[in-house]
């Protein structure tokens, strides 16, 4: 009986800690609906890409992260300008 009670108490604390961790780590819910929609579409697209394209995009991601911040900002600005022109 004592073991079961102890198990329940430990389970309770685990639930508490786990929920805190989930709540802290859930960046998804911090995104706005537009960002969520964009991520969802991109993920679905990503899933359909062939492996070599996936590998290429991973390399591009590494390269993107290695770029200086000002260059990234400039490229992002250029991309957004193109997108706005397209719209």
């Amino acid at each position: 009986m004592k073991t079961r009670k102890l198990f329940l108490i430990v389970l309770g604390f685990f639930l508490l800690l786990e929920s805190g961790a989930l709540a802290d780590g859930d960046d998804w819910r911090k995104l706005n609906p537009k960002e969520k929609d964009s991520i969802r579409r991109n993920y679905e697209r990503w899933e359909k890409l062939p492996p070599q394209d996936k590998e290429h995009l991973r390399q591009e991601w590494d390269r993107w992260n290695r770029m200086p911040q000002d260059r990234r900002d400039r490229l992002k600005q250029r991309f957004n300008d193109h997108r706005r022109n397209q719209d």
Binding site: M1, R4, K5, L8, I9, L11, G12, F13, L15, L16, E18, S19, G20, L22, A23, D24, G25, D26, D27, W28, R29, K30, L31, P33, E35, K36, S38, I39, R40, N42, Y43, E44, R45, W46, E47, Q52, D53, H56, L57, Q59, E60, W61, R63, W64, R71, R74, L75, K76, R78, F79, H82, Q86
Partner: protein, 189 residues
């Protein structure tokens, strides 16, 4: 100073109880006469009665309890009986929880902790955003990984990265595949 009381000497087994009653003067006339007649012949029983006279006065007398004590004692007893009957009447629903005896407190505690855990999750964002924005097809490990979320958010830029760099005057990555180039060109067109 300690009061040592010598133990009583044994009397005849058949007369022992009657001798006590005789001592207290609670024997009937006939029994009293029989006791006196027996004691005239039996030294042990005579000594026993003498010892009673010596020992019993040294024993603490029972305190005389006042009448209010007995009145309240009676009232308390009646109240306890009433409470017991009331519990008996209520026991039909208590019987449902009988199997949970010993489990009620931990079960209740776990339920409270679980409710607290859910509240902790929900308090970060409001209930509508928690329930109203499902993320179908995206695995949980992606949703909780900010790096992966950023990757998928930037996917379109990554696809166009070489083209963007060319337009920016930088050096494009020679590994860019034709497919991605076409897609990038299409997205930037």
């Amino acid at each position: 100073m300690e009061n040592h009381v010598a133990p009583l000497e044994g009397a005849c087994k058949n007369y022992e109880e009657d001798l006590v009653l005789f001592y207290y003067g609670e024997s009937g006339a006939a029994e009293g006469a029989a006791m006196e007649q027996h004691m005239a012949q039996c030294g042990r029983c005579r000594n026993f009665v003498d010892d009673l006279g010596r020992v019993l006065p040294q024993m603490a007398p029972l305190p005389e309890l006042p009448q209010p004590f007995w009145d309240s004692y009676f009232r308390e007893t009646i109240a306890k009986l009433d409470a017991h009957e009331a519990r008996q009447r209520q026991s039909w629903w208590r019987g449902w929880f009988q199997p949970l005896n010993g489990w009620l407190v931990p079960t209740f505690g776990t339920a409270v902790v679980a409710a607290l855990a859910i509240a902790l999750v929900l308090e970060k964002n409001d209930l509508v955003s928690f329930i109203g924005t499902p993320s179908p097809n995206i695995p949980a490990e992606v949703l909780v990984d900010s790096n992966q979320l950023e990757f998928f958010k930037s996917l379109e830029i990554l696809e166009s990265l070489s083209t963007l760099e060319e337009q920016d005057g930088g050096k494009a990555d020679p590994k860019t595949s034709d497919i991605l180039d076409r897609r990038a060109a299409w997205s930037l067109a």
